[in-house]
Structures are given as structure tokens and as C-alpha cells.
Symmetry: D2
Subunit: 319 residues, 4 copies
Amino acid sequence: MPGSDLKSDLWVYEYVTPWDYYAHGVTNMLRYARTEFQEMMIVETGAYGKALVLDGKWQSCTGDEFLYHEPLVQPALLQRAPARNVLILGGGEGATAREVLRWNSVKRVVMIDIDRQVVDACREHLPEMHQGAFDDPRLEVVIADALEYLDQTDHDWDVIISDLSDPIEEGPSFKLFTREYFEKTRASLTGGGVLVVQAGPVAPVEMHLHCRLASTLHSIFKHTASLTTYVPTYVSPWSFVLASDAPLDTTPNPVRIDDTLREHTRGGLRMIDGQALLGCYLLPKHLRAAIERESEVYTLAKPPKFFGHGISAASAESD
Amino acid sequence: MPGSDLKSDLWVYEYVTPWDYYAHGVTNMLRYARTEFQEMMIVETGAYGKALVLDGKWQSCTGDEFLYHEPLVQPALLQRAPARNVLILGGGEGATAREVLRWNSVKRVVMIDIDRQVVDACREHLPEMHQGAFDDPRLEVVIADALEYLDQTDHDWDVIISDLSDPIEEGPSFKLFTREYFEKTRASLTGGGVLVVQAGPVAPVEMHLHCRLASTLHSIFKHTASLTTYVPTYVSPWSFVLASDAPLDTTPNPVRIDDTLREHTRGGLRMIDGQALLGCYLLPKHLRAAIERESEVYTLAKPPKFFGHGISAASAESD
Amino acid sequence: MPGSDLKSDLWVYEYVTPWDYYAHGVTNMLRYARTEFQEMMIVETGAYGKALVLDGKWQSCTGDEFLYHEPLVQPALLQRAPARNVLILGGGEGATAREVLRWNSVKRVVMIDIDRQVVDACREHLPEMHQGAFDDPRLEVVIADALEYLDQTDHDWDVIISDLSDPIEEGPSFKLFTREYFEKTRASLTGGGVLVVQAGPVAPVEMHLHCRLASTLHSIFKHTASLTTYVPTYVSPWSFVLASDAPLDTTPNPVRIDDTLREHTRGGLRMIDGQALLGCYLLPKHLRAAIERESEVYTLAKPPKFFGHGISAASAESD
Amino acid sequence: MPGSDLKSDLWVYEYVTPWDYYAHGVTNMLRYARTEFQEMMIVETGAYGKALVLDGKWQSCTGDEFLYHEPLVQPALLQRAPARNVLILGGGEGATAREVLRWNSVKRVVMIDIDRQVVDACREHLPEMHQGAFDDPRLEVVIADALEYLDQTDHDWDVIISDLSDPIEEGPSFKLFTREYFEKTRASLTGGGVLVVQAGPVAPVEMHLHCRLASTLHSIFKHTASLTTYVPTYVSPWSFVLASDAPLDTTPNPVRIDDTLREHTRGGLRMIDGQALLGCYLLPKHLRAAIERESEVYTLAKPPKFFGHGISAASAESD
């Protein structure tokens, strides 16, 4: 019978499975739009600050986004430090770019996002996230389909960061989680370049997206590595996969990492330092076992179908 | 506009803050009771199996409880391996006892829980959790108030495990998170004995319970250490504090840990091995900083007040 | 941003459409079972007392059930006062029988319900509803399928009351809302006998069940009449259809009705008297128009498909 | 276990009591603002069309607003047909004005609303509600506090319509439900003028607002009458009170009402005609009894405190 003094009358639901959802009370709706590609909301919440929500999937929020963006970006850049050219696929909030631009060595960052309305709204309403990244002359924002862009890019990226929304059916991103697409990204990297992919939840009850992405990348690249982080608003622990044709160091020395960060970045990291980085590579036993067991590969013919519905599916259903 | 095909008409809400809650769809209600101390539910859920819920606070569920119970128990026992006598405060599900009894060296386990109805219902409905622990002759279950029990116990525990529900106001456990109580536990340990305390969430927006518990324990014991784990159904990352008057090894050697587990336990661990254990000790930078900054201490005069309401508070309010 | 101090952590959802649901906080779960036919809950709620919920559909609750059971039963009995023999189809709570037994003229009441577990649980947990009706020697409870029972009944009912749960797909009752079934009930009535059918919501956005039931009954019986009531926990206004081969008085004289009730019943009505009864027959203009427009008829080949899922459908889906 | 295919990820909650709430899935957010006086949303919902929501209280929606606005306006105007001068207090959506302007006899309508942002947003986004009323030269919109306006108005209104949001604590309207305020309205009426007040829900569990308003008006005016209607999105049945110093006809003759409407209005009514109007005056027995029993009167010293929180209360709490 215990209950709670809820402070809101407007709630964003994130459906995790058909049997659980996470509800966030909205204290201010900063932007609501149905764009060409997806439903977009920028909401202010009581517990976690401002958040970007696309097609009902919580993307990131000011209250804990650093727990996602730092371990998405820094492990990859530390593997190839000091990197010069970095390509970001997705990343509309500008926070991924912010993390890349923290490196003094970086000369050029290109960020490809399909939805101009999302990029513009984030730039306007989420300064806490991009922290001026959009004004950095090293950053070029390209509004385009990542699949098409990779066909015409100039093949010399040190690091490519795949920061795409989950591959829900009919959403704009599921093709970008397939073997065909990863082969294109491989062709766009420098010889020892690194690709990092946001790779979904790794709760005991739903680790398959991570495992199959790892398996898919392992079928193309000589070396892969899995990392995890904990972003409270994502409910489940979250994961990334690194992939490269050159070796990856998965037991980084904390002291040396701290030295590198001090030398090459302008600082400001909140979560990642040497110790925390090492922790990201140390996976629990059951997850390592699941990754090893997995052998399926995502292809365009057999792409991932993550739980959730995009706007086109929802429209179709309501006909 | 996207939505979800929800499969339930009965939902357990866990209120995280006044601005967010996590809802679990019930597919079967195995037991519902209002006991002398709290509201108790044992529910079957679609996503996470069977769960125990007390006063609206999700205690643990079969789908991910190993991510809580293994890192609660194994780090402490590994610090003092091979331990012989272990005291558990709380732990009604029997899963904490199960983890302790995995050790062949353990001769005696006493588990103190205040609520017989909870212990009996877990024994009946949650065999996946206790896995027969209640039938192990080394385990003695005592229905009592932990505070009173410690006054009369025989002062030679190698390890004491505080596995209590969160210290919500008017709930049955908040006094057991105070300096006075921890002094009693210290007096009940062998010289180099270890106390481990479940220490609440460590999301960036709510780390204070952990930090103050660490501070409180640090004011009594010579050595303390923080660990984290990630239990999806707890939403936030979760934490423990180890405390002892003898040194604690916070950078365990994975290979040696694996050897110890092989030698002294009958196996069966799902999350914890050497690598995973080391990962539990490697905290993110912002959490280490917050722990260092904290100096407040919980006392009976100034106990913790965690978000939530116990059954007595709720009754009082509804008068 | 305004919110509310919610007093419960366990909620029953009634899904009205895919875009709205009504949530009731449970303060005590008196009975939960998955019977042979349906999911059954008897819950105690803070706002509306005790309620019976079947397959996620709120049946009735102590807080407002009189607004359903009185206008279900009394208009039909007043049309044929004083009636002697009454057949109830469904009505597990015993409240429909209670209303019938209020009449001194009634000699025999048979109540057919398919689910013994529901009838037994209501008898035990909902004395406020049946008020001892199950102990009245005039009442005979038959656990059977209403369709089969009507084949063998003795054809002399003055009034037949169809008090069935909504005809959701795969639920136990949808066949009992068809022309074939209504023909059987007609054959079981005395010459001028009256059938009354609970006929679903009549909100402007979902009046079709009522209209088609009225149309279906109109295709069989010489006279039909629609009535409405308002039961807050049903969200939408609710409706009944009366059907008979003898004329129906749809503008009852309030004074004469009060006299009849005084003479033939033992009193105790809370909602219905002469004035209120007349009000039940006076429908809003748009509803009268919708009933007139409707010409479709429900048959076994084309039965109603009301929003909602029965337990069998849900199981099938989750395979 | 049955559930539902919900089509939205953004939900408006209307808290009815601390133990129940009604949730509407938003398919489009047309306007969200925190005005000087209240939180305002204009949402598009899947089930009920477009809705205006103020401080978390559902005001009205295109799907069923006619069930509120017609019985709010037409009974009062029919009591004093043909009326010439009508004052509306509140009524931001413009639908109350629409109903008044349906009368050819009406020469002047003044509508007082405190919140210009609400009026402007409704005019822009809810043309289905106002249907051009704002462009009718007979309508004058005054942005002002109703209490102050009544001090300076010219005392010759045939009908005054109080269409104010519920008197929640700290909301903008609770003072306008007191004896002092009603005395001002009385002084502003012509001799036999009629005041009609929206008077809240009349569910069996929450009829006190209606009863006390009726009692309050009865302490000032010679004649009062209660009416009810059924607006599905309000969950509970809804009520109005008419008050006048001249007699009120509470058993209108349906045929004569239909004649009057034909003669004096330009038609277009959906719910109200003679039959439906008579039905509005025929209250259920328990409600009539409750009104008769009530003797308390709302005053400025003891105003109504309806369930809910205004924006100022919520802000204060979150400090």
C-alpha cells in the first residue's frame, strides 16, 4: 500500500519489454515534433534534467549522459591516441562530438545525422550536452544518410563512432547494424583505425543484440573488444564493441591512461580515468560466456529487430 | 506516438524518485500479505521471473538476483577466505545464505530476519533463489530484531553481511544503517573480520546513501572499500561497502581469485570470477570523488531517510 | 508539473482503448487466481472499495456497483411486475441475484455462471455485494455454460437477465451476444417475458456494441428499449437493452413506480426510484440517432469483438 | 495477465483521487506552456481527439466536450428564453460561447478569462471547439480576474455562466466558488436572471463539492436546481447547479423545448433536445438525498479544496 508523491501529470514511458516500462515525469516540454523520420521530444524531467527522446526511446539526458558518452568515445580514442580524424555516425545531441573535441590532437570531426530537426533542436535546447561543440571549427555536421555517406567518404578515418539509436523495426537505423554496413565502415578506416559501436543493453534477459553485434564485427575485423557502462536512465547496463584490424589493449594501465589524458586532452572528464577505463573492459562472467557462445551475424537480409516501434510502423498499424 | 504491446493488467510500481517510477507487469501473484512489519508481495513477472517486493521496494528477482547476491557475498568471503562463521542480517529470500553456503570452509551460518512471514513465503515460492539453502544443516534461521540479536551474540563472526532493505522512513530497517548499530557489528566480529553492507544506489543523482554509509563505516573501522554492481531491475547501479580493522585487498589478482574459488567453493557462480571481481572494485571517477568528499555520519539521532514509505507511514497518512 | 500523492505500489489497469487506461491502486489483494476460464482478482482499492476484475476487465466494485446492478435488474422487473421466475446468466458477484430477490413476488431465481471459482470467491470476499443472496432458498446457482443450459431449461421465465462480461475476443462470453443465443433466450421466456442485456459503454467514441446489440435484439423481438446509467469506475456511460414480444413502457410514471416498489419489494434501493427510472429511459439525442441508424446484427458467424484480450488469446500471443 | 497494445509513449495523467488516475496517450503535443497562472497543454489523443489540460486537470476535449458544454449552457438559456445578454466566467476554449451564440436572441456575450495564453492557444488550436465563436461580433473577450470584473460590470445579465476549472488548492479559481463571489454574481443579474455553475463530479464517493455548491447557492438565491451529465473523459458523472430568484422549471416539456430550440437557435445541438434535457433534471435517488442533507456553505474563509495541486503549490513543494 505504500505509494509516492508524484510531481508530474505528463509522463514519458520507455517500454523496456512488453512486461516493464520506465516512466519519467515531465516538468517542462521544451520541444515536441513529429519529424520526417521520427517522433522527437526534448523534455525536462524532475530527476534527470533535460532529455532527448526519439520514437519513445530515451536517447540521453543531462543527468547521466556522461556515463554513456565518455565510455563510448574515450576508449576508442585512447586505443589510437593521438587520433586526428574522427567520423561520428548519429550523435545528434552533440555530446559525442564534445567528447571527441576534448582531444587536442583531433583536427577534423565529421558528424553525419539523418534528421536536421533533431540536430537543430539539440543545439538550441541542450547546451549542457554539446557544450559549444557545434561552434568548434573542427566539427562539420552533415545531414545525410550514413549508408550513402560512407560510399563517398575519403577513407582515412582514425576512429569511426557509431552512435545510433537502437535498431528498432521501421526506425531509421536498423540497417546500420549489419555486416554490409560494417564492411563499409571498415573500408573507410585507416589501416589500424578503430570502429566503436553502441551495442545495446546487456541485462541477463536481453544480451542478444550485444552478442550478435560482437559476432558480426568479429566476422569482419581481426580484433574486437566489448565494454560496458551503467547509465541509470537506460535501466539495463549498456555496452559498446570496439573493432579494428590492429590489436586492441583490453587491460589498459591506469597510470599510463591518466598520463595520456593529461597530455592530449583539455580535461573535464567526469567518469573516465585510468581506473574506470580498466573497469569498463572487465565484464561479468556470464556476459563473457554469452559473447563467446554467439555465432550469428546480422546482415541486411537478416537485420536486428530490437524491441520498439518506429513512427512508420505505428502509423501503419493504426490504419 | 510509438507504443507497446503490454501484456499485463496488474502492475507493481517502484517509485525511484517523485519524478520517475519503474513498472513491472505481473503475470501471476503468488503471495500477497500485509505482515506485522510490511506489505509483502511475491509476484511472477513477464520479463524478470519471480520477485519479492516489500513495502513497494523491489527486493530481488530470479531474473537478475545473482548480480546482487554474488557481489554482496563473494567479495567479503574472498577477503577472509576460508571463513568459517558467517552472520547474515536480513536476507529473507535465502539467496545470501545460498552464496555463503557455496563455501566448503563455512561451518556455521546464522541468518536473522525480523519477519517470519517473509522467510516462510520465500522458502515456499522462491526455490530458484534459495536453492535448498534452508535445508542445509549449517544454516540457522533466527526470527528476531537484528539490533537485539547483536547484543547477545557470541562475538566471533568472520564475516557479517548486512542484507537489509533500504532505510526508508518508518520501514523496519533504517536504524540498522547507523553508527551505533555498526559499532555493535564491529564488536561481534573476530579480530580481522569483515562487515559488508548493501549500500544503496549510486546513480549520479542519488549517491548520498552510499557516500554517507562509507563515511559512517570509515569513522569506526580502520579499512573500508566500496564496490559496485549493476542489477537491471534496481534501475540505478548498486553498491556495497566492506569494512574491517584488517587490510582489504581492493586490487585482487584475477588468477588467484579463480584458484581460490575453485579450491574452496563448490562452484556455480554466474557473475563473479577473478576478472569480474576486480571490475567491481574499479569505480568510476565521479563516484570515487563523491565518496572522498563526504564526511557526514549516520547516527540514531540522525539516521538515513531514503525515498519511500513504510506501511506504518502510509497508514498514518491515510488517517 | 502538478502531480499527486499516490498511495499504492500495485495497480490494476483497465485498458479502455489503445490510447487510454484507467488505473486503480490496490490496497489489499484479497484473491488472485488464474481459473480454467479467466484471470480473476478480487482487490481492495482506496477509492472504490472491493472490486472483482476478470481478464483485466473491471466487473464491479462495492463503491459504485449499485449504479450498475439496480438499473440492470429493476427496469426489467418493473416492466413485468410482479414477476415470479427469473433467470440470470452470469452475475457471479451475487449482486444481480440480490436485486431480483428484493422482490417478494419472486419465487425462483436460477443463476448460471460458467466459473465456479469466481462464484465461490465472490461469495467469500464480497458479502457487501451479495448481501446474503446466496443463502436465500429461492436462489439456485448452476455452474454451467449458459448456451448449453438454455437448450434444456423449462421455458417459463418471466425475466431473463444477461449479466455477462464484455464480449472480448477469446473471452468466455462473446457467443452469448449473438442472434442465435438471443433466439434461445426468447424461446425460454413466457409469452410476454422480458430479456435484459448489459450492453456495454455508450461513450460518443464507442457506441457500436450497444447499437448492434439493440439492432440484433430488434431483429428477433417485437419491442426493444435502451437505457443508460453512469458507473464511474466504468469510465464511459453504460447501457442496457430490454427486449420483449409484449409492449414496453419507456415513459414510466414516477409516482406509480414508487408505489409498485413500495408494495412489492422489501426496499433498500439506493439509485432507482420513479424519477431515476424515468431518467434512465431518456437518452441523449446523439445516442438515439446512432441506435436508429444501426442495422447490423451480431451472429455466431459475425460475433462482437470488443476491445480487450482473454486469457487464451494472451497465452497464444506469448508463445 | 491480459494486457493491451498501447499506442503512445507520452501520457497525460489525470489523478482522480490518491488511488486512481486516468491516463491518456498523447499522439501529438500541440502546445505546452507554463503560463503566469497555470501549466497548459493542448494535446492530441488517440481516443478522444484534441484536449485542453490545465494544471493536470482535463478541461475538455473534442471527442466528448458537447456532453459538457451543451448541458452547461442550454438548460440555463432555456429557463430564460429568449435571453439577450450573457456573461461567461472562464470558458477559455470558446465552446461555452459557441453554445450561447447558437441563440439568435442573444445580443451580447462577454467572456472573462484570467489567462490570455489559454484563450489564444485555444483559438489557434481548437477550432473544432469554438467553431468561429471568437469571430462573432456579439462576443467580447475580456482578460481579467472574474472577481474584479464583477465589481464594475453593469448589472443586467440575463444569464451568467460560471465555467471555471475545479477549485483545486492554489489554482486560480477556488475563490470563485464561494458565497461572497456568488453574491456578486447575483447582484449582476437582471431580476429573474439565472446563474449556472459547473459543479464538479457526482460519483457516489465524491459528491460533496456539488452538494456544498448547491447548499451555498441555496443560501443566496430563492430557487436552485441540480442537473447531471455524463462526460466519459471526466470519469465521474458531472453536475451543474442553476440558481435564480425567479422560479426554475425542472420538469420541462420535451415537445415545447424542441419547439423553442427550433424557433430561437440556429440548430446544431448534438446531445440536448427536449427528451435529453428532461433526463438531465432527473437525478438518481442517492444524489437527491445527499443534496438535501447538505447544509455547509463555502465562504472565502472556508473555501472548497478540491483534490489536485495548482502550479504554485507544486513549485512551493519542490523548494
